[in-house]
Symmetry: C2
Amino acid sequence: MTRSKSKRQTGCPIAFALDTFGDKWSLIIIRDMLMRGKETYGEFLAADEKIATNILADRLQHLQDEGLIEKKRDPQNRRRYLYRLTPKGLDLTPIVLEMVRWSAAYDPNTKASPAVVTRIQSDREGLLKDLIQKNKPERD
Amino acid sequence: MTRSKSKRQTGCPIAFALDTFGDKWSLIIIRDMLMRGKETYGEFLAADEKIATNILADRLQHLQDEGLIEKKRDPQNRRRYLYRLTPKGLDLTPIVLEMVRWSAAYDPNTKASPAVVTRIQSDREGLLKDLIQKNKPERD
DNA sequence: CTGTATCCTTAGGGATACTG
DNA sequence: CAGTATCCCTAAGGATACAG
C-alpha cells in the first residue's frame, strides 16, 4: 500500500476537502460510480484514463477509510465485491456537477452529455435528486 | 520551473477540471483570492498552509497560463503586482462553495465561518453574486 | 475476476540561497 | 518586497508479475 496522505490539518474546509478527495484519481472513481453506474473493480479498471491496478486498490481502500464508499459482497455472485457510495460520498454530487458545468463552459474539447449540461442550468435540483436516487444504496 | 502537467486528454469534464486546477495548491490560492481578498505574492505566501515560494511562483504562472487569473502592476505602487481572478477563474466560485458546504458538514474540525456556511444553504444565489461582485476586476 | 506485492521512475514539492 | 534558481527527497504513480 502507498498509505500516507499527510493532512494539512488547518481548519480550512477547502484544505480538508482537498486532503480527502483532492488527488488525481479519487474523483475519477467517484464519477464512474455516480454518473456511469460502475460498481466493480474491473469496471473501474477499464476507465478511459487507465488507472493502474495498484493505485486503484489503494484509492478504493482510502475512500473506504474516509467513509465515502462501502464495499460489500455481491449477493448474486459470492466471489465478487460491489463498491457503492455512502451518503457522505453521494453528497459530493453537487461538487461533481459544478465541475462538469465549469469544464463544459470552458473546454471546447469536453464531451459531456449535452442533456446533463443543459439540465445543470435549467433543473439543477431535479438532476441532483435523480442522481442521488439512482445511487441510493438500499438495493439489497 | 516545474513545468509539465501532462493532461489526460480524454474528453471527460471531470478529468479536464482536475488537470486544470486539481493539484494540491491551486484551489488554496483561488480560495485566498476569492474568500479572503488576497491579491499579492506576499499575502499568498503568508497562508496557513505554508506554500513554498518556488511552488507559489509556479502555480501563479500555471493559473495565468490556464486563464484563471491575471497579473498586473499595482497602479498605487509601480513595483508590485496584483493577481486577480478572471471571469473564468471567478466562475469556480460554485465549486469552491460546494466544497466548503461539504467539509462543513463532515469535518468536525472545520473552522468555516458559520455566516458563510448557513448562507450557502439559505441563500446560495445571493452569496454567489456577492462573492463575484467583490472580486470583479473592474477596479482600476 | 479481484485483487497484492514489488520494483522503479518521475513529478511535485520542501529548504534555502540568491537577485532586481 | 517579489520573485528565481538549485538542490534534493519523498510520495505518487506506472509496469508487471503473481495469488486466491
